[in-house]
Symmetry: C2
Subunit: 463 residues, 2 copies
């Protein structure tokens, strides 16, 4: 059995790991275009800020690990062609060119930053000094070096998860930070605007400017960034603001050209389309992580994830299946997500509200505030839950939580209940662990479920 994996990031390395666990004897080869063995891209903002002391400590699957597991890791090697007719790939690397046969192939080719052209961001072919993206190790190291030179005044274009994590890192490092987001709210794909409100407040209290419904129209400066023209999308007014650093964080484009040429169908967002076993439209070819679109459990829609969580789980599923495992059918992908930003843990599972609407699903929502501890026990932290259930049958669809702690673990509980088809009633009557120094008798999740039941009953439905 020959298993070939294109891409050695989190998704690819995890696929290799699980293929190896499944089949001790398979030949497994991982092709990675960069010079790095797998490292945690999610960890880069924390290596930038210094929370993680060394960039190198982000390496999780080292070259040594690949050797120990008898997985052939080819670094700095580009794959130029995948031919499903002959089950062959062509590659060229440091040791020259070659071809390799495969029985199963896994695309884990990831994505590259999506960089909209901003006027004045480059001079000729060269980016102005002070312009950065933040995707890979080299991007992070370059920004780190630049920020080590002196105190910077940075504008981050795009308030997605990575954008805000970089904003936090720069803020911790003592730089001045502003964020500009084209859409209505920060973290637009991750949480609804009302869930983002406490985070916006927190950022404002820390002196971090966050403009939404705005864009950077032009970068001014001679060779280096000196100013940015920020435009308000509603009023059309433009403002020139002094910055010396621009970080473009407008999301990513999946790397799919090889897959497309190999005949793999793409999904509605242009990523490789896969089924729940993570197999593409071409039998024997799988796709995982940022280059793929998973089938969202709640809406059934093809959805790009972009999250490490989903990449790792897809890697597990594809690795097992590519090695001939029969059992790797997950209950479903939900795109569970979490981050810690400016002292707040922000977590969510299931589609954001607008995606549910787009999918034609009628929703009932409840937003409640609770505490992580009983009222009488000192030290409880505020925690805010937005829970969404189906108006039709009360089934749980999505959950978004913000608090100082415990958001991510509570979202995991909501996720399991969504996969199980549990209703708001099931959650309201669910025993959560309770002890005065640990948690209240009625968890905030159950309170939210009760609020949903009341709304459902008012609308004549039982929860």
């Amino acid at each position: 059995m020959n298993i070939v994996i294109l891409g050695g990031g989190a998704a690819g390395a995890t696929a290799a790991q699980f293929a190896r666990k499944e089949d001790r004897k398979a030949e497994i080869t991982v092709f990675e275009a960069s010079e790095y063995p797998q490292y945690s891209r999610c960890g880069l903002p924390y290596a930038l800020s210094g929370a993680i002391p060394e960039f190198e400590s982000l390496i999780e699957f080292s070259a040594e690990w690949f050797k120990r597991n008898k997985i052939d890791l080819r670094l700095s090697t580009e794959v130029s062609k995948v031919e499903p007719d002959t089950n062959t790939i062509s590659f060229s690397g440091l040791d020259g060119d070659g071809k390799l046969q495969y029985d199963s192939l896994i695309f884990a080719t990831g994505a590259r930053p999506s960089i909209p052209g901003i006027k004045g961001i480059a001079e000729g072919d060269a980016k102005k000094k002070g312009v950065f993206v933040f995707r890979g190790m080299d991007d992070a190291k370059a920004l780190s070096e630049w920020c080590g030179e002196k105190n910077r005044k940075a504008v981050i274009v795009g308030a997605g998860l990575v954008g805000l994590e970089v904003a936090e890192a720069l803020h911790i490092m003592g730089h001045e930070v502003a964020v500009v987001e084209f859409l209505d709210s920060i973290l637009p794909g991750m949480i609804d605007p009302d869930t983002a409100a406490p985070l916006l407040e927190k950022m404002s209290s820390l002196g971090i400017s966050a403009r939404t419904r705005a864009l950077v129209e032009e970068i001014l400066g001679d060779g280096s960034v000196a100013e940015a023209v920020v435009k308000d999308r509603d009023t059309g007014t433009e403002e020139r603001i002094e910055y010396d650093t621009v970080i473009q964080e407008n999301g990513q484009k999946p790397s799919t050209s090889l897959a497309k040429d190999a005949g793999c169908a793409l999904g509605r967002h242009g990523h490789i389309r896969v089924d729940e076993r993570c197999e593409s439209s071409v039998p024997g070819i799988y796709a995982v992580g940022d280059c793929a679109e998973y089938v969202d459990f709640v809406t059934g829609a093809e959805s790009p994830s972009g999250m490490g969580t989903t990449a790792v789980k897809m890697g597990e599923v594809a690795g097992i299946n590519a090695a001939g495992g029969s059992f790797a059918l997950p209950r479903g992908f939900l795109n569970s997500r979490v981050s810690r930003l400016f002292g707040l843990e922000i977590s969510a599972v299931g589609p954001i509200s607008s995606s549910l609407t787009e999918a034609g699903i009628a929703q009932v929502q409840a937003r409640v505030k609770g505490s992580t501890l009983p009222v009488y026990y000192p030290g409880g932290k505020d925690i805010m839950v937005k829970l969404t259930a189906s108006k039709e049958d009360g089934k749980l669809l999505a959950c978004q939580i913000v608090g100082e702690e415990g958001a991510g673990l509570r979202v995991n509980l909501a996720a399991a209940m969504i996969l199980a088809g549990f209703t708001a009633r099931d959650l309201a009557l669910f025993e959560t662990t309770y002890a005065p120094p640990v948690a209240p008798t009625v968890d905030v999740l159950a309170t939210a479920a009760e609020a949903i039941m009341i709304k459902l009953r008012r609308s004549g439905k039982s929860g």
Copy 2:
């Protein structure tokens, strides 16, 4: 609609609350034998230690709350008879005797300490000075007063949850503490001996003696406790140890005499037997909390809980059903439990191993150690998971977790999966929220699930 609730503790007050939510017009009367409106019994050890500054802050449902919700709370009132033939109860209180009709009745009569006779613990009819139990507010206040007098040397007989919580409180207050447990391990009904091991280590490092398979055979001293004779059950050796305080924490006996007289069937442990709607064998009569036995979801066995969590959930269910609600059928009771002891969070759901064996359920277990954060991110805490699945079909049955934090919330996830009938495979392929400062890509629960799958495959079953 007349709803009568006997007992105003957590279970009774919650039943009243949810009956009121269900029916805005019902007459609801709560009879409570003590002088206290509902307070958190679980909070007493923390008021003792000083973590909660005042005993009075433990009152959650105040007399004021009952008034506001138009619930008639009769404190210091004993109910002497329940007659289902005529739907009548007889009571006597501060304002004299009376009778009351009911449509629904809820037993929330709780339990009283089970106090095995220890030789020398009393002189004549009076307990020796220095002998305590720890169930209600008055017990806790008496112990608090005694411990305020001088530094004590206390032995706690019974290493259940309350026993250890009191041991921790006394330790924090600076007293010397020893624990003696008759059974094989500490927290015997809550967790398996191997799960208790890290806690035993921690206690030992703090200088708290914990003897298992031992008993206090005799209390010596003239009018006051001066020494205890501690007997090793294996060797039979006896040791005289100086103590001035004995706290008996041997569990509890359910208060069921009224229910028995009213014709309610008792369960195999002598508590009132109820169905999943919390209704007893007598139609219209419900029972909740420490006086009742819930039907365990995993084994189907009648089981006393003794936990506030279950009491509150049973209260919700019975309250709604007693008020005529049709929908209060929970997915099942699992007896989820947690505490924080000596800096460790200890949590469990589902039967302990010996109860599963007793129920004839073949188990596969995995014990794994993980961290709350990715290896590369500083500050992760060790966390130990013992996961149990059915050897037959891989379905999750039980989970026990010990760590500095995050045990209880992880157990909630396991609990939802048990109720959903999820297998070890479902958990292994489940996306848990991940971000470097919050959680690792693969949660320790998923690692435990993988370990179970490997064991199942070795034994020829698929997980």
